[in-house]
């Protein structure tokens, strides 16, 4: 099935197509303002600035941003739950949270204006991917603390299309709703889209039985090959979008109909690329870790937030007419975080469970594989004397206990596999904690 490239349409031409010099001027003005706000309202960041001896008045050009300290997820964790807020709670109208590494999540808040900004940047990538007010949008992201569901929901409403807030799960029902309600656009993770295509096949539903024409897939990285597979099996024109809850949620960037890089909403988010080891700026085309400064956020402004996502930036003009810089698909992480079915997984979480079960830490490894459409997580645990029992039921019981605790902590099912000592690959004596066997392209 071939999919048709939608016509170019632009939601917010004033900002998306702003001449470069005007955009830089706007960014600098907003940067100065946000730095002053952090200095005045957010003690943890003011302290960070004081440590390196920089004051708001030192920021005179956009390049001066390099004088400012980075913000990391650890900083936000120390601020749990509300210490990173720059406004009193009474001005916060929404709270979301992202999965955390040590049981504690990262809490983010939105003022009324933040929600308006968020909705606007989501509307931008929806329209840039082909959405019009005539569309019927099936949202299969979960609605909850996760920013995906609500973020897309309000963006679709803003564009004027109809939202079907189906949320996640019950795949056969998802297909029936798409067929019966005549959904024209699908929003979910790319791996779930592939899974839905399989369920469709099993139900005997052909792409032609559905009215789907657009697909917006995000919350995890995916490959060109997956795009082709989704497009051919579901008959949609598929675009990628990117965001993280710390910055705003989905809407930091999204692809246009040329499907070649995601346009960053630069009037709200200032991107930089750094070498994750030296923290020095790198050439945009060469690629590095994406660092983002929120230029307009009120509730939780962040300066030079290290996303840990590795990508390239493409400053050259795009045929769609937008002047904003594009970022490539995420090619990896500068830490050991894995994204499995939209869930963030850190090896340290697995470590916590293993320590909890036996009090000592065995060598272990997280192995991620793609079976059919779905990503599967296997946790291999080397059976040392501490973990060994002569009785089968005790070994089994331990396996089940670890699996149960992992599911509780991660919100994701993982299979535990007990392996012999010294069988997990080590590099320089250190066990390789993560083996990601998912195809890269």
């Amino acid at each position: 099935m071939t999919t048709q490239r939608p016509a170019v349409a632009i939601w917010d031409p004033e900002h998306e197509c702003m001449p470069a010099s005007d955009l830089r001027e706007l960014q600098l003005e907003r940067l100065k303002k946000i730095v002053r706000k952090m200095w005045n309202k957010v003690p943890y960041y003011r302290q960070k600035m004081q440590v390196v001896g920089v004051r708001p008045s030192d920021i005179k050009s956009l390049e001066d941003i390099q004088k400012l300290p980075f913000t990391t997820k650890d900083d936000l964790r120390l601020c749990f739950p509300y210490d990173a807020f720059a406004v009193p709670l009474e001005q916060v109208v929404r709270i979301h949270a992202s999965s955390g590494t040590t049981g504690k999540s990262t809490v983010v808040g939105y003022t009324r204006k933040d929600l308006d900004t968020w909705t606007n940047v989501v509307a931008r990538f929806l329209v840039s991917g082909g959405l019009t007010s005539k569309d019927i949008v099936h949202i299969a992201f979960s609605y909850g603390l996760f920013t995906g569901g609500f973020g897309l929901h309000y963006g679709v409403e803003r564009v004027g299309a109809s939202v079907i807030p189906v949320s996640a799960g019950r795949s056969e029902r998802q297909i029936s709703i798409m067929r019966d309600f005549g959904s024209t656009a699908l929003v979910c993770t790319p791996s779930y889209a592939i899974y839905l295509a399989e369920v469709m096949q099993g139900m005997g539903v052909k792409p032609g039985d559905l009215k789907l024409r657009l697909g917006y897939f995000g919350a995890e990285s995916w490959t060109q090959r997956m795009r082709q597979e989704i497009e051919s099996k579901m008959g949609v024109f598929a675009t990628d979008n990117y965001g993280l809850s710390e910055i705003i949620g989905p809407g930091v960037s999204g692809e246009c109909v040329y499907q070649n890089g995601m346009h960053i909403s630069e009037d709200h988010f200032y991107p930089e690329l750094i070498d994750p080891d030296t923290c020095k700026p790198v050439d945009a085309r060469q690629g590095g870790e994406l660092v983002v400064t929120t230029l307009t956020k009120e509730a939780i402004p962040l300066i030079r937030y290290r996303t840990r996502d590795i990508c390239k930036l493409m400053p050259e003009p795009c045929p769609c007419g937008r002047t904003t810089v594009r970022m490539s698909k995420i090619s990896g992480r500068s830490d050991d975080m894995l994204i499995i079915r939209g869930v963030n997984v850190f090896p340290s979480q697995v470590e916590e469970v293993l320590l909890d079960v036996k009090g000592t830490l065995p060598h272990y490894q997280l192995v991620v594989q793609r079976e059919g459409a779905l990503d599967k997580l296997e946790v291999r645990v080397e059976v040392s004397e501490d973990y060994f029992s002569d009785e089968m039921k005790k070994l089994h019981g331990m396996e089940k206990l670890i699996e149960h605790k992992l599911e509780n902590l991660l919100g994701l099912r993982a299979a535990v596999k007990l392996v012999e000592p010294k069988t997990i690959e080590r590099s320089e004596g250190k066990a390789k904690r993560v083996l990601d066997l998912r195809p890269k392209d």
């Binding site: 089968m392 070994l395 392996v419 012999e420």
Partner: protein, 143 residues
């Protein structure tokens, strides 16, 4: 009375058993009795050998996870009803068996059953009371 058994963690992979057998063979260690409990992914190999300490050292040095377990060897008549005559008093005495395996003695008309009990001391008392002959450890290592 109590026999020392080696328990070895083994992944269910081709050649694992052969490797252990070869290592023990090269060290002139004789396997007296053997049993394997397995699942699709892994197994527990249980061995009674003529030289426990040496076998333990060899297996540990070669990187295996090994533990020592105390088991009881009981001699039963190698005839119909032989095993039942041992199990009945254990049941009556409320003794739980974790697992067991058996082999036939070469030179006699007896079979030997190796028992792993939940409570080994209670089990030994019950066996003694029922006048069931428990083999001394030294005898088992030399069988």
């Amino acid at each position: 009375m109590k026999v020392k058994q080696l328990s070895i963690f083994m992944e269910n992979r081709a050649g694992r058993m052969a490797e252990i057998a070869r290592q023990l063979g090269e060290a002139r260690i004789n396997i007296r009795a053997l049993s394997l409990a397995d699942t699709s992914d892994f197994g527990i190999l249980r061995l009674i050998v003529n030289d426990v300490d040496k076998a333990m050292k060899i297996l540990k040095d070669s990187g295996h996870t090994v533990s020592l377990t105390e088991v009881v060897a009981v001699e039963v008549p190698d005839s119909p009803g032989g095993l039942a005559s041992v199990l009945e008093p254990l049941r009556a005495g409320g003794v739980n068996v974790e697992y067991m395996y058996a082999f036939v003695e070469k030179a006699t008309d007896k079979a030997v059953v190796i028992f792993r009990f939940e409570d080994i001391d209670a089990a030994v008392k019950v066996l003694a009371k029922a006048k069931i002959s428990v083999l001394p450890a030294e005898t088992v290592y030399k069988l």
